[in-house]
Amino acid sequence: MAVCIAVIAKENYPLYIRSVPTENELKFHYTVHTSLDVVDEKISAMGKALVDQRELYLGLLYPTEDYKVYGYVTNSKVKFVMVVDSSNTALRDNEIRSMFRKLHNSYTDIMCNPFYNPGDRIQSRAFDSMVNSMMMQVC
C-alpha cells in the first residue's frame, strides 16, 4: 500500500496528489518533486525504445531508508509517482505494476469524461476512491 500517490502532468505540475494523512505531507510532496528528475532521466534514457506496457512502468526510482519511490509514465508523458513505505514488507513488483495499471485505467476514465479538461486538477470521486483503496490504511 502506498503512502503517497501523485499524478503529474506533462509539464511537471501536479494534477493530483494525495498522501496518507498522518505524517508531514510536505515531505512526500517534496519527495515526489525530486523524483521527477529521476523520471525524466529514465524517460530520456529510453530514447527511441518502443514504448510498450513494460516500459511505461519505470520501476523503483530511488529508495531511501524510509520508503521507496516508484514511477510510471504514460504515453502522453503523464507521470504517476508512488511512494511506498519500506517497512511494508516488500510489495512485489507485480503488485506495484498492477497498482499503476489501475491508476492508469482510472486516469483514462477521467480523461474520457467530457467534462474534464485535460490539465485540470483531478477532482473525481471515483478516482479518489480508487486511490484511497490503494493507500495504506493507517488510521
Binding site: 498492477s98 474520457c112 474534464y116
Partner: protein, 796 residues
C-alpha cells in the same frame, strides 16, 4: 454568502424548520418572530444568536430569507457543537449534528409531529376538498398537485407506514424521504393554492418570483430559476414529472417544470414515482421524456451520444462542472466516453435529481444502471439493469447499487478470465469486437497454453508437428498482433517455447493464456478495470484476426506430405491463425534459416516443388510429420524409385534446418539450415538431379530434421553445432559424392536407409516427448491461472 452545502438530512431538516418559521407562508421569508423563537430554543447565549444572525446576513437584510435561514441553522449547529462561529465553518465542518432546538412546546420530534399534525390538519382540510388550482400556478397542474399534495399530506401522517395510497388519484406516493420533508405546508398555506400542496409546490411558488437567491435552499448546484426555466424549457415535460417525483427541495426547477408539464402527466408521474422507496427510479413519463431528448441529439436509439454532445447538453442544466463530471462518471457505465440510451437516461435523471436537491450518490443507483445487454455472465449487471424500472426498496438499492458498480469493477480483478469476458460484453460499444476478441482468445488459449487442441487433420506425426508448431507460435510473444503467434519464432525448440510460455504466463494477470505480450496486457487491464478494454499496449481489439505472419522464407515442405504439404506450408505463412494449426497448411513454416529449427521434417518429400524451400522454417510440427513422411518417403526412395527425388529431398533437407538434436546416428543428417545449405541445395539439386548417381550426395545431407531426443534442449544446441559441423563435413564431401559411383551409391543408399530409420525412431520419440511437454505445460498454465486468481486478494 458563500455557498452552503448541506447534507440531505440537513436539507430536509432545514426546510422543515423554515416551513415552521414561515408563519406567513411566504415561502421566502421566515418570520422574524418565529426565527428568534427558534434560536432561543436552540439554547444558545444571546450574543451567539446575535452573531449568528449577523453572519447569516439577516441583520443586513432585515429578514430571514431561506438561504439566510439555512445558514443560520447551520451556524446554530456549529455553535451547539462548540465550534467557533465562522463563516468558513459552514462548509468545512463535517459531520455536524443537526441543530437542536428545544422548543418550549415540543422537542424536535414533537416539533416534527406538531408539524405533521399541522399537516394533518391542513390535510384534513384538504382531504375533503380538492384544493383549487394555485392561482399563480404557473403550474397548470394545480389540481393535480393539490391532489398529490393531499396525498402527500395524508401520507405524511402515516409517514413511516404505508406506502402512498393515492386517495384521489393515484398520485404516487412520494418517496418516503420526500414526504417527510414535505411536511411543509404548515399553516397559512391554505390560501396559497400553490403553497398548499406542500413543499413540493411551495418551491414553485417561491421560484416564481424568480428570486433565485432567496429560494435556494441548497446553494450548490442551483441556478436561478430563470435559467432553469430556460433549461427546463429545453427539457420540457418530463423534468417536471421527474421533479414531481423527486425530492422537492429545490425550487426553481419545479416552477419551470410546472409550467411545462401537464396535469395529467404530473399525475401519472406521481403515480409512478410512488416507488416510495426508490427516489432514483425513472418513471415512464420521465423515461419517455429522456428518450425524446435523446432523439434530439441522436436519432438512432441504439446509437451513442458522443461525449462532446452530451457535455453541451448537460451544461445547459447549469449544474457545476464538477457535479456534471461526477454525474458523467456515474452514468457512463461502460466508460466509453459516449452515452447509450440507458446511460443517457440515467445521467439525465441524475441531473434532474440534483437540480431538485438530491445529493448525487457515490455509486450509480441500482435503478439507474443501464441494462447490460451484451453481458455474457452478467450476473450483477443484468440484475441491476433489469431492476432499472422495477421498484426496489429505496434502502436496498442504495446499498446494493453502491456495491454493484464496485462489484462490477472488482470482479474483473477477482475473477479474471470470466470477468474479462463479462467486462468485454458489458461494453456495449465495443462488445462486438470484444466478444470476437474473446472468441479468438478462446482458441488461442488452448493453443498457447494447452497446445493440444490443435485441430488435427494430419497424420499423427503431423499433429505433433503442428502442436509443436503451435506451442512455438503461441509462446512467441513477439508478435503482439496475434494471440497465437504463428510467426516463426526461430526457436523451434521446446525449451524456447516453454520459456516463452512461461514468460507469457508470468505476464498475464489473469492467466498465462495469452501468447503475446500485448494480449496479456489486455487481460490484465481488463481485469483491473470494469468494462474497459483499454489496451495500453494497443493490441486488443485488433487481435480479432491475427494478421498473417510475415511470409516465411522458403517454407520447406515436409517430406511426408508431398506436394500438398509443401504447398500448404507455403500457404501457411500467410495464414497465421491464432493457433489454429488445424491443418497442415496452417502451420507456418519456421523461418528456418539460421537456426535450423527443425526443418528436417520439412524436407520436402515431394519431388515436385520442394526444392525451392530452403527455409528452415518448418517448425517442429511440420518436421515431425515430415519426418515421418520422410521416413516413409525414404523407404520409398530407398526402393530406388527416384534418385532425383531423393536428391531433391535431401537437398531440401539440407535446406531445412534441423535444430533438434539428433542422434549421432542421424548425425549424418544435418540440416543445412544455413544459407549455405540453401545455396548448396539448389546447387546440389541441379547437380544431383543431373546425375543419376547423385544419391550419394543426399545421404550425407539428408535433411536433418532435428529430432528431439530426450535431451532436447541443451543437447540440441550441442548437437546442432555438431550437426553443423557434420553438415559442413558432409557438404564438403558432397561434391565428391556425386562423383562416386556404383558401390558408393549403394553404400550411400544403405546409409540413407539407416539414417531414415533412425530418423523415424527419433521422430517418434520426439513426438512423444512433445506430448509430455505439452501436458506439463498445460498443468503449469492452469496452476498459474489459479495463482493469478488468488493473487488479487493477496496484494490488495
Amino acid at each position: 454568502m458563500e455557498g452552503l452545502t448541506l447534507s440531505e438530512a440537513e436539507q430536509r431538516y432545514y426546510c422543515d424548520l423554515f416551513s415552521y418559521c414561515d408563519t406567513e407562508s411566504t415561502k421566502k421569508v421566515a418570520s422574524n418572530g418565529r426565527v428568534l423563537e427558534l434560536f432561543r430554543a436552540a439554547q444558545l447565549p444571546n450574543d451567539v444568536v446575535m452573531q449568528i444572525m449577523e453572519l447569516c446576513g439577516a441583520t443586513r437584510l432585515g429578514y430571514f430569507g431561506r438561504s439566510q435561514f439555512y445558514i443560520a441553522l447551520k451556524l446554530v449547529a456549529v455553535a451547539q457543537s462548540g465550534l467557533p462561529l465562522r463563516v468558513e465553518s459552514l462548509n468545512t465542518v463535517k459531520d455536524l449534528p443537526l441543530p437542536r432546538f428545544v422548543v418550549s412546546k415540543n422537542e424536535q420530534e414533537s416539533r416534527h409531529t406538531a408539524l405533521y399534525s399541522s399537516d394533518a390538519d391542513s390535510s384534513a382540510s384538504y382531504s375533503g376538498v380538492i384544493p383549487p388550482p394555485p392561482g399563480r400556478i404557473q403550474v397548470k397542474k394545480g389540481s393535480v398537485s393539490h391532489d398529490a399534495v393531499q396525498q402527500r399530506t395524508s401520507t405524511d401522517q402515516q409517514e413511516s407506514t404505508s406506502p402512498v395510497v393515492s386517495p384521489q388519484q393515484s398520485p404516487p406516493t412520494s418517496p418516503h424521504t420526500w414526504r417527510k420533508h414535505n411536511r411543509h405546508p404548515s399553516g397559512g398555506n391554505n390560501e396559497r393554492p400553490l403553497a398548499g400542496p406542500g413543499p413540493f409546490w411551495a418551491p414553485f411558488s417561491e421560484a416564481q418570483p424568480g428570486s433565485s437567491t432567496s429560494s435556494d435552499p441548497i446553494w450548490s448546484g442551483h441556478s436561478p430559476p430563470p435559467h432553469q426555466e430556460n433549461w427546463v424549457s429545453f427539457a420540457d415535460t418530463p423534468p417536471t414529472s421527474a421533479l414531481l417525483a423527486m425530492h422537492p427541495a429545490s425550487v426553481q426547477d419545479q416552477t419551470t417544470v410546472r409550467t411545462v408539464a401537464s396535469a395529467t402527466t404530473t399525475n401519472e408521474i406521481r403515480r409512478q414515482s410512488s416507488s416510495y422507496d426508490d427516489p432514483w427510479k425513472i418513471t415512464d413519463e420521465q423515461r419517455q421524456y429522456y428518450v425524446n431528448q435523446f432523439k434530439t441529439i441522436q436519432p438512432d436509439l441504439n446509437g451513442f451520444i458522443p461525449g462532446s454532445a452530451a457535455k453541451e447538453f448537460f451544461t445547459k442544466s447549469k449544474l457545476p462542472i464538477l457535479e456534471l463530471s461526477h454525474i458523467w462518471e456515474l452514468s457512463d457505465f461502460d466508460k466509453d466516453g459516449a452515452l447509450t440510451l440507458d446511460e443517457f437516461c440515467a445521467a439525465f435523471h441524475l441531473v434532474v435529481a440534483r437540480k431538485n436537491g438530491y445529493d448525487l450518490p457515490e455509486k450509480l443507483p441500482e435503478s439507474l444502471m443501464p441494462k447490460l445487454i451484451d453481458l455474457e455472465d452478467s450476473t450483477v449487471g443484468e440484475q441491476t439493469g433489469e431492476v432499472g424500472y422495477s421498484s426496489s426498496p429505496a434502502e436496498a438499492p442504495p446499498s446494493k447499487s453502491p456495491s454493484m458498480p464496485s462489484l462490477n469493477q472488482t470482479w474483473p480483478e477477482l475473477n479474471q478470465s470470466s470477468e474479462q469476458w463479462e467486462t468485454f460484453s458489458e461494453r456495449s460499444s465495443s462488445s462486438q469486437t470484444l466478444t470476437q476478441f474473446d472468441s479468438n482468445i478462446a482458441p488461442a488459449d488452448p493453443d498457447t497454453a494447452i497446445v493440444h487442441p490443435v485441430p488435427i487433420r494430419m497424420t499423427p506425426s503431423k499433429i505433433h508437428m503442428q502442436e509443436m508448431e503451435l506451442k512455438r507460435t503461441g509462446s512467441d510473444h513477439a508478435n503482439p498482433t496475434s494471440p497465437l503467434l504463428v510467426k516463426p519464432p526461430d526457436h523451434p525448440e521446446e525449451n524456447k517455447m516453454s520459456s516463452s510460455v512461461k514468460f507469457t504466463s508470468g505476464n498475464t494477470v489473469t492467466d498465462g493464456y495469452s501468447s503475446s505480450d500485448s494480449y496479456t496486457s489486455d487481460p490484465e487491464q481488463i481485469g483491473s478495470t470494469v468494462t474497459r478494454q483499454r489496451s495500453h499496449s494497443g493490441t486488443s481489439p485488433d487481435n480479432t484476426a491475427p494478421p498473417p505472419p510475415p511470409p516465411r522464407p522458403h517454407p520447406s515442405h515436409s517430406r511426408s506430405s508431398s506436394l500438398d504439404m509443401n504447398r500448404s506450408f507455403s500457404v501457411t505463412p500467410g495464414q497465421q491463425q491464432a493457433g489454429v494449426v488445424a491443418y497442415p497448411p496452417a502451420v507456418p513454416p519456421r523461418p528456418q534459416p539460421s537456426q535450423g529449427a527443425g526443418p528436417h521434417v520439412h524436407r520436402p518429400v515431394d519431388a515436385e516443388g520442394l526444392i525451392a524451400h530452403t527455409s528452415t522454417s518448418p517448425q517442429q510440427i511440420p518436421e515431425q510429420p515430415n519426418f515421418a513422411d520422410f521416413s516413409q518417403f525414404e523407404a520409398f526412395a530407398v526402393s530406388g524409385v527416384n534418385k532425383e527425388e531423393e536428391d531433391e529431398i535431401e537437398t531440401h533437407s539440407e535446406v531445412l534446418q534441423v535444430e533438434k538434436p539428433s542422434d549421432s546416428a542421424s548425425s549424418l543428417r544435418v540440416a543445412k539450415a544455413d544459407g549455405r545449405v540453401e545455396d548448396k541445395a539448389p546447387a546440389n539439386v541441379p547437380t544431383s538431379v543431373g546425375k543419376g548417381t547423385t544419391p550419394l550426395a543426399p545421404p550425407p545431407k539428408p535433411i536433418r530434421r532435428r529430432l528431439k531426443s530426450e535431451d532436447e534442449l541443451r543437447p540440441e544446441a550441442e548437437e546442432h553445432t555438431q550437426k553443423t559441423g557434420v553438415i559442413a563435413a558432409v557438404l564438403a564431401s558432397q561434391p565428391s559424392i556425386p562423383r562416386s559411383v556404383g558401390k558408393d551409391k549403394k553404400a550411400i543408399q544403405a546409409s540413407i536407409r539407416r539414417n531414415k530409420e533412425t530418423n523415424t525412431v527419433l521422430a517418434r520419440l520426439n513426438s512423444e516427448l512433445q506430448q509430455q511437454l505439452k501436458d506439463v505445460l498445460e498443468e503449469r498454465i492452469s496452476l498459474e491461472v489459479q495463482l493469478e486468481q488468488l493473487r488479487p486478494f493477496s496484494h490488495l
